[in-house]
């Protein structure tokens, strides 16, 4: 099943932020069925900014957030429910909470499916009431008696409902909850602190929360625990906090690096090593290199903001096309056997987080590092770390190489979008940038320099684009025939952002 944070992250990855917002609404009832969920969608998700099709509801019910309890009814695990209700309050305020409660009341009265289950019907009505008017809900519970006229409700039902209403989350918003959990990080008991870390992790997965205070609180915990304990191993709560920080994406990479810097190869390695399921890398790097992808495409696509989904999709289409074309050409130029991948494109491994063992292995064994330069690229700490990791590897001429020696880095710097001279970090400037030479039409090289590969694709300059990709593939193949980049088993401690060293 996984923690609430993991489940939210998974559903969010597989669907969209809008579906999570629909889940906020669906968290209010005790249980929900497809009809009620659709009613919520029709009421709140037919107009921009969040427009959801009918299928979105089905996807949500079948996701790991919900559990089927029979009779086509679904319920949410209480921990996740609380987090989602906080999301509802934060994003839509109390007015929306009231609207959902009224809708629930209305649906419960009019839905014949539920009148045959009086306990459920009453529970739904009472829940709805408790959101609209908590005092009235409580007094109804106090006054109504088990077995009283017209009420077919058992004593157990009353006990359960009272408990449920007491546990019902206050209508609080995410900033308040973050502050509460941050305070709880100073709890004396380990369980208290761990529970606060998990709450913060889950809150960070709500699409509309501000992540900065969460990251700050977690980083504070790690620093505090480190000064308290001088031993090599980090306490369990600090490890959990680091692991959450790593999952927050590359905006927080610098923070993670700064936290791990004082103990290279220490805590971050330990956290990552326990958090991933993967075959241990074989020790023989040479064998590995024979099977490895020949080129590695390093790009900053993930660096786009979370809300730019459509723009991202379009860009990733262009990136995929570029990757396929380059792969096809390189495979032919170096006669790769069937089944061996010519290239590695991060993000093509489904469900993988950024620093998988597979990615580290690819950076440590590929023969060419194709860096897709753009302003975002230079700003990305992850790309800087990839660059740095690759440049640690030694480049030697192949024995049979007929070309003379020369300085070779194995790095192929490609203009993905136009970049200005002053944006380029020192380490990137030290590498000669790729340029498509010797084409019959000199305009192509000029267009490439002024538009970048993405520009050529966008402008429909197919002839120029194809020619650039072909020259690039030839360049990669040439390097491959003449030089060998020695494989290296990379450790997480090799990860430093090369672009910050100006």
């Amino acid at each position: 099943m996984g923690s609430p944070a993991d489940r939210l992250a998974e559903v969010r990855r597989n669907t969209s932020d809008a579906v999570i917002r629909l889940a906020y609404h669906a968290a209010l009832p005790v249980v929900i069925d497809a009809g009620l969920l659709n009613l919520l969608r029709v009421n709140f998700f037919l107009d921009p900014p969040d427009v959801l099709p009918f299928e979105a509801g089905a996807a949500l019910l079948l996701s790991s957030l919900f559990r089927e309890i029979g009779n086509d009814l679904y319920e949410i695990d209480p921990e996740v429910r609380n987090i989602l209700l906080i999301g509802l309050q934060t994003t839509y305020k109390s007015e929306r909470v009231r609207q959902v409660a009224q809708l629930l009341m209305h649906y419960t009265y009019s839905s014949p499916a539920w009148t045959v289950q009086p306990e459920l019907e009453r529970a739904q009505q009472l829940t709805a009431l408790s959101f609209v008017d908590p005092a009235r809900a409580r007094s109804w519970l106090d006054e109504a008696q088990p077995g009283a006229a017209g009420e077919a409700l058992s004593r157990e039902w009353f006990v359960a409902m009272r408990r449920r209403l007491e546990a019902q989350p206050r209508a609080s918003s995410a900033p308040d909850e973050v502050a509460r959990a941050a305070a709880q990080l100073r709890d004396r008991r380990l369980e208290g602190r761990l529970s606060a870390v998990h709450t913060l992790a889950a809150l960070a997965q709500l699409p509309d929360t501000n992540i900065d205070p969460i990251a700050g609180a977690l980083a504070g915990l790690v620093r505090l625990r480190r000064t308290e304990e001088s031993g090599e191993s980090l306490a369990e709560d600090a490890r959990a906090a680091l692991s959450v920080l790593l999952g927050l994406g590359e905006d927080y990479a610098d923070l993670v690096i700064s936290l791990s810097e004082r103990a290279p190869g220490g805590p971050v390695t330990a956290v990552l090593a326990t958090g991933e399921r993967s075959r241990p890398p074989p020790a023989d790097a040479e064998v590995l290199a024979e099977l490895a992808p020949l080129f590695f495409v390093s790009h900053a696509l993930q660096a786009l903001g979370r809300r730019e989904k459509d723009a991202r999709r379009e860009r990733s289409q262009s990136l995929l096309q570029f990757f396929d074309d380059l792969s096809e050409n390189v495979a032919d130029l170096v006669a790769l056997p069937t089944g061996r991948d010519p290239g590695f494109l991060e993000g093509t491994i489904p469900g993988g987080s950024r620093w998988t063992d597979e990615l580290l292995r690819a950076v440590g064994t590929c023969q060419a590092f194709v860096a897709l330069l753009s302003p975002q690229y230079f700003a990305s700490a992850w790309c800087g770390m990839e660059w740095n990791a690759f440049s640690l590897r030694e480049v030697v001429p192949r024995a049979q190489a007929s070309k003379g020696p020369g300085h070779q880095s194995g790095i192929v710097a490609v203009n993905w979008t136009p970049v200005q001279e002053k944006q380029i970090p020192r380490v990137v400037n030290a590498v000669q940038q790729f340029s498509p030479e010797g084409l019959p039409d000199p305009d192509i090289a000029r267009q490439y320099r002024s538009e970048g590969v993405l520009g050529l694709l966008r402008l429909g300059q197919n002839a120029a684009y194809e020619a650039v990709v072909w020259r690039l593939a030839q360049h990669i193949a040439d390097n491959y025939f003449n030089y060998q980049v020695k494989p290296r088993i990379l450790r997480r401690s090799d990860l430093r952002d090369a672009f910050q060293e100006r």
Binding site: E290, D332, P337, G339, D441, A463, E466
Partner: protein
């Protein structure tokens, strides 16, 4: 769809101007692309047209042979051998893969043998090589200088190769010029010094001209289909014409295919540079899963409870480098469809539908054309899984070559094509 008659006609009674020999390209990961050999096809059509334009009407020769034009369900090897026997000129598309892979080098050697046996004074004169993809500078294959001489006025040819001239618009003028010169050379040889057909050695028995030491990686093709002897136990609804003496003789499209489905699967894998082992799933002692492979499954195989249990136990716990392929024969009956559903359930329960490619195999194919479209994708994906997750042995091979199994090409393991014709 071409039947047997057109297969015979396709093999051609008369000779041909040229035989196009090339290394097939393997589908890449995810196979987002259509036919990986589409540029070879384009080039063939251009060269064929240029030859036809220059050809003498009296020669009685068809312009060219290209293996993608062979009718799908015909006896591929026979058609190819016939073309090798009767082509006046051999046109190899030189590329790094041409010299690394087994099949092109064997075709090259066959044709050269034919020239020697026919007493041609200078066998290499009958080769008109094309530089398809540029070669590493340490490669110096036979006939390359002459080949480049064709494009002496077009320096872009030696630098980029013919495929790039075809692909990249700025080079199209050079491309057309060179195609025309190649056609002129082919027609000149064939019309002024005609050879006539003569015998060639068996392409499977010939050593490759370029990499005689090469040891092919091995791919397994496993067949789960009833044998003729077991048919009486089956419920009604199947077509007896589909089955042979053994399960591997299964022909799901008896009207369209001359040979067994396993034979065609073998051909596809060989084109992608594998040695192939074909086995019946029921063969005693047969171990699935120690090498990359594909299981071809006839839905009728599970019509019986006993076989259904057997299939389930065979498939249980198979590694990701063994991929299933359900083949629904024609015409599909309602019974066949319900058996297919059972097979799918068994496959999914065995965890064999976990990747996109595997799911395509589980969905299955229902025509020969679909079979030939999906098969190369399955072969490439199975090998890819094997390389990524399979057992790994240290190797001393040169970079870029695939870790290969020890031993020679397992020619002895490749069964002869199954020409089983059911009793009339």
């Amino acid at each position: 769809m071409a039947g047997r008659d057109s297969a015979r006609a396709g093999s051609g009674q008369g000779g041909r101007y040229f035989y196009l020999s090339y290394a097939h390209s393997a589908p890449l990961t995810g196979s987002r692309r259509a036919d990986p050999d589409r540029w070879v096809r384009r080039f063939f059509l251009d060269l064929r047209d240029a030859v036809a334009f220059r050809a003498s009407p009296k020669s009685g020769l068809a312009p060219g042979f290209f293996d993608q034009e062979v009718p799908l369900g015909s006896d591929w090897k026979a058609v190819r051998t016939q073309a090798l026997c009767s082509a006046e000129v051999f046109v190899p598309l030189y590329s790094p893969s041409y010299f690394a892979w087994s099949l092109p080098g064997r075709e090259w050697a066959c044709y050269r043998q034919r020239m020697i046996q026919a007493g041609v004074a200078d066998p290499l004169r009958r080769f008109v090589p094309v530089l398809w993809i540029p070669l590493p500078s340490d490669r110096d294959p036979p006939g390359l200088p002459q080949s480049l001489a064709v494009g002496a006025t077009e320096p872009a040819y030696a630098e980029n190769g013919m495929r790039a001239l075809l692909r990249l618009a700025p080079y199209h003028t050079s491309y057309r010029l060179i195609v025309d010169r190649l056609a002129a050379r082919i027609v000149d040889l064939a019309d002024n010094a005609p050879l006539g057909p003569s015998v060639v050695p068996d392409v499977d028995e010939t050593e490759s001209e370029f990499s005689p030491e090469a040891v092919a990686a091995v791919f397994s093709v496993t067949v789960a289909a009833p044998a003729r002897a077991g048919l009486s136990a089956l419920p009604r609804g199947f077509d007896p014409a589909c089955y042979g003496d053994r399960g591997i003789g299964w022909r799901p499209f008896p009207q369209e295919q001359e040979l067994s489905l396993a034979y065609y699967a073998t051909q596809v894998a060989e084109q992608l540079d594998f040695g192939v082992v074909v086995t019946d799933i029921e063969m005693p002692g047969h171990v699935l899963g120690h090498r990359p492979g594909v299981i071809l499954i006839d839905p009728w195989f599970v019509a019986h409870d006993q076989e259904r249990h057997a299939l389930r136990s065979h498939l249980y716990g198979l590694p990701s480098w063994v991929l299933p392929l359900i083949v629904l024969g024609s015409p599909g009956s309602a019974d066949a469809a319900s058996h297919a559903r059972r097979v799918r359930t068994i496959l999914l329960e065995a965890g064999m539908g976990n990747s996109e490619t595997a799911r395509r195999g589980v969905d299955g194919v229902s025509s020969l054309r679909e079979f030939f479209a999906l098969m190369p994708v399955l072969v490439a994906e199975a090998e890819r899984q094997y390389l990524r997750r399979g057992p790994m042995a240290p190797s001393t091979a040169r970079p870029g070559s695939r870790p290969r199994l020890a031993g020679s090409r397992p020619a002895g393991l490749i069964p002869q094509p199954h020409r089983e014709v059911p009793d009339a």
